[in-house]
């Protein structure tokens, strides 16, 4: 009985699985705006790696996983090597288990530099070498800051370059519905002062300006850390920001408290946020942008990174129904146009010849352009053709990245995990729940002290 059951279910599954995906390349070489010349040049000199394989393990799942596979197909096509990408939502835990037990993949895609730094210090990563470091410095916008973000101390305490960034997102964006702004006669604000005035104007009109949601399962609270980081960059110098990240200034420094309280001005005011401040902590960040497009609109603005478009309702067309503006800086503070971002970095966890060649491939513009053309993939690579971005929205974000006067990485991803992915998150939830900024920041600082 049991075996018969298996057999029949298996037969159903087999017929369902008989549709084979075809293996050709996503974009025919030589066509379109892609940088084929550099690819062809590399491909002509690339070694024959037939029979060798490269395994890549990362946090991307559907749909980014298939798009990444379409990019690495160009590597396989040129070298004959097999490249397999596997994604996992528990990447952070699994890479540690695999690396420590000695069954690591060749290349790991780290969503947080902090985790890569930890693994580098345990000797689990292979350095990419000074050549790649200087290549990044020369070919990425604000190159040195990217090199610094990929440089960690190795097991003997010496600084080495381990990871270079591939797939970056810009966080300093405010999403809105242009037609809702038109209906109400609002203008896109150019300065933070204007933005605050606009928020008050919307409240005076009897509407709600902001949608803010901090819910994210076990990571609940992280959207608030992005707010605070963005405000830090707009109220303090980049140097102060760096000191905050490394805890050279304490977490409960008045400068940080000021930034937290500026965030509180938006999130802890019942009139400012849809559902009132009580809803901020419990609304899922994936659900909160839908308030922009409901009718009547629940809110008019939503601050979220470039990946926010993934959570827009299905019928919303980015660029038509939704647009973004740069989260503006204070006109009265002369701090330029700082940009906050995040991203994933590629590092070698198990070196081989094919793996080194694969890293060379990732330096080519084509490895970035194939991604840019298909998904919300931004790159600071200055050699890519911006025309290959999927749409104007992404091109605009790519330009923000290339033109940033100051680029700073998401602070919570750089802080030690117990703080940046722990007490900072929970602290911000406590803060919007009613706790005082001073108490919350002191508690976070205490948790940081406990790590030292």
């Amino acid at each position: 009985m049991k075996m018969k059951l298996y057999a029949s279910v298996a037969a159903v599954a087999l017929t369902a699985g008989s549709v084979q995906a075809d293996g050709h390349l996503a974009f025919t070489p030589g066509e379109g705006d892609f940088s084929w010349d550099s690819y062809n040049e590399w491909a002509a000199n690339a070694p024959d790696l037939s029979g060798q394989s490269v395994t890549v393990f990362g946090p991307w799942l559907s749909p980014e996983d298939d798009i990444f596979r379409s990019a690495i197909a160009y590597f396989a096509d040129a070298t004959g090597a097999t490249v397999t990408y596997t994604g996992s939502d528990g990447f952070e835990q699994q890479i540690r288990i695999d690396a420590e037990a000695g069954s690591a993949p060749n290349v790991a895609v780290f969503p947080q530099p902090g985790l890569a730094a930890t693994m580098a210090s345990q000797g689990l990563l292979t350095p990419l070498g000074p050549d790649t470091a200087s290549w990044v410095a020369d070919n990425y916008a604000a190159g040195q800051s990217w090199v610094d973000l990929g440089t960690y101390a190795d097991a003997s305490g010496e600084d080495q370059f381990y990871g270079f960034f591939y797939n970056v997102n810009v966080k300093s964006l405010v999403w809105y519905s242009p037609e809702n702004f038109e209906d109400a006669g609002y203008e896109v604000p150019e300065t933070m002062e204007d933005l605050i005035a606009l928020s008050e104007q919307i409240i005076a009109d009897g509407e709600t300006p902001w949608c803010i949601g901090l819910g994210s399962g076990p990571a609940t609270g992280w959207p608030a850390t992005d707010w605070v980081e963005d405000i830090m960059l707009r109220t303090q110098t980049p140097e102060t920001y760096d000191q905050w990240v490394t805890n050279e200034i304490p977490f409960n420094d008045p400068k940080v408290i000021e930034a937290v309280e500026t965030f509180g001005m938006f999130a802890k005011n019942d009139d400012m946020v849809a559902g009132g401040s009580a809803a901020v902590g419990s609304t899922d960040f994936r659900d909160s942008p839908t308030g922009l497009f409901s009718s009547p609109p629940q809110c008019y603005m939503h601050r979220q990174a470039s990946f926010a478009t993934a959570f827009f309702p299905e019928d919303v067309v980015a660029g038509e129904d939704a647009d973004f503006f740069y989260f503006p800086s204070f006109a009265e503070k002369d701090l330029g146009n700082p940009v906050l971002g995040g991203g994933t970095l590629m590092a070698i966890t198990d070196a081989s010849d094919a793996t080194m060649e694969f890293m060379e491939f990732l330096k080519l513009p084509i490895a970035h352009e194939v991604m840019m053309a298909q998904t919300g993939f931004l790159t600071p690579h200055t050699g890519v053709n911006l025309d290959t971005y999927k749409d104007d929205i992404l091109r605009g974000q790519g330009e923000i990245l290339l033109n940033a006067t100051t680029f700073r990485f998401d602070a919570s991803d750089l802080m030690p995990g117990a703080v940046g992915a722990g007490t900072f998150w929970t602290g911000m939830v406590d803060y919007v729940g009613g706790a005082e900024a001073e108490d919350v920041t002191t508690a976070i600082q205490n948790s940081w002290d406990a790590l030292k």
């Binding site: 049991k2 059951l5 298996y6 279910v9 298996a10 599954a13 087999l14 369902a16 699985g17 549709v19 084979q20 995906a21 394989s53 395994t55 890549v56 393990f57 946090p59 991307w60 799942l61 559907s62 749909p63 980014e64 996983d65 397999t84 990408y85 596997t86 994604g87 996992s88 939502d89 528990g90 699994q94 288990i97 695999d98 420590e100 037990a101 000695g102 069954s103 690591a104 993949p105 060749n106 037609e179 809702n180 209906d183 109400a184 399962g217 994936r286 659900d287 839908t290 497009f293 409901s294 009718s295 009547p296 609109p297 990946f307 993934a310 959570f311 309702p313 299905e314 019928d315 038509e320």
Partner: protein, 385 residues
């Protein structure tokens, strides 16, 4: 006697009510998941599953046809776009009002013509036909939005199931994961039963020194969390050359399942009538003959119930598979892993989660119903002597 008879209905009532409550507690979330699996992601975000079964009053937001393609020049600089706002399919709901601005919802009645200013007009009828008229400048660029207050009937979709089971990008991976899961589950169910049955017989009916201590050790192992053993065991597998693979995951599942299996089977076997076994011994049967000819057939309910336990646990397992089986080659993924992947990079696709849950539940349910008569008997294994 009367007093007992009088009390009995109350006890029965209390029992029935608590059973109903427990069943509801389990059934309600399952029902919600089931309803959600027939809804789109946007519907799940917008309203709860309990409201999905009734007609809903809502404001629809629809665009007129793109003026760059659809506008008609009427001459004298007047352009017009005509069509049906609901597209080709007839609208199943009922329109109560409409508007062209997000600030004045429901301001216009169906059939009314609204003046947008500067001679631009919009007319919308109850059946969805519309006329949008104005000059060259007005009838261009973005198409006009229309907000329609309407009562719409319940709307369900089979697309989620189509996506999980038959979508080209998925079906291959799902089929592979299905067979991989079977490859893990069947040996991981049979091996522990085989070992545990022998061990249980020895611990129940063979006299040897230290038997009681061994039983105590097995019971003690029941409380050791398997998470403790993950990394050391994987290191061991790597060191002796098994690495990540099916053999490793079978061994791990066997090890983690054995304490419960031995405990359960030993308690059942110890309750079998002593007379039968002594008679067999007197007749000259060896221990192996007693085990195969007498104990095994009599223990079938216990064996079956443990098989169900182990099958369900290995079928639903993600942790052990992640650690001991799934490597970066991507060839050995299992169902649970495949479903987690379907959730998307940022885990927002609830409709896929709900659907996958029901797809994945199908095989364990079938196994359960096929063998459920043994489960209850086996659950009592060892509890009554």
């Amino acid at each position: 006697m009367d007093a007992i008879a009088g009390r009995k209905p109350i006890v029965v009532w209390a029992l029935n009510i608590s059973v109903v409550l427990l069943v509801m507690l389990w059934l309600f979330p399952t029902l919600g998941l089931f309803v959600s699996s027939f809804r789109t992601g946007d519907q799940i975000t917008a309203s709860g599953w309990w409201s999905a079964m009734f007609p809903a009053e809502q404001t629809l937001q629809i665009r007129a046809a793109d003026p760059d393609d659809a506008r008609v020049d009427l001459g004298n600089g007047v352009f017009v776009v005509e069509g049906n706002i609901f597209g080709d399919e007839p609208f199943a709901g009922e329109m109560s009002g409409w508007s062209t601005s997000s600030r004045t919802l429901g301001a216009n009645a169906p059939g009314e013509t609204f003046d947008l200013g500067d001679g631009e007009t919009f007319t919308l009828n109850a059946d969805g036909t519309y006329v949008w008229q104005g000059n060259d400048d007005q009838i261009s660029g973005r198409a006009q939005r229309v907000f329609i207050d309407a009562t719409t009937p319940p709307d369900f979709t089979l697309n989620n199931y189509a996506f999980v089971l038959f979508d080209e990008d998925n079906s291959e991976g799902m089929a592979k994961a299905f067979f991989n899961t079977l490859t893990v589950v069947i040996p991981a169910t049979i091996i522990p039963i085989l070992i545990a049955a022998f061990a249980a017989y020895a611990l129940a009916w063979m006299d040897f020194p230290g038997r009681a201590l061994l039983i105590a050790a097995v019971v003690g192992l029941l409380v050791v969390p398997l998470q403790l053993a993950l990394i050391p065991l994987l290191s061991l597998h790597n060191a002796i050359g098994i690495g990540k693979g099916y053999l490793g995951v079978w061994l791990a599942h066997t090890g983690f399942g054995l304490p419960l299996a031995i405990y359960l089977l030993r308690n059942y076997m110890v309750g079998l009538p002593r007379d039968i076994i002594e008679n067999a011994k007197v007749d000259g049967a060896t221990d192996f003959q007693i085990f195969t000819k007498i104990i095994l057939p009599l223990s079938f309910p216990a064996l079956a119930s443990f098989a169900i336990f182990q099958f369900l646990w290995t079928w639903n397992d993600l942790l052990v598979a992640l650690v001991f089986l799934i490597d970066a080659s991507g060839q050995t993924t299992v169902m649970t892993k495949q479903i987690v992947e379907l959730l998307g990079t940022r885990g927002g696709d609830w409709e896929i989660l709900a659907t996958s849950a029901f797809v994945s539940i199908a095989v364990p349910l079938a196994v359960f119903f096929a063998m459920q008569k043994y489960l209850v008997r086996g659950l009592l294994a060892g509890s009554v002597k």
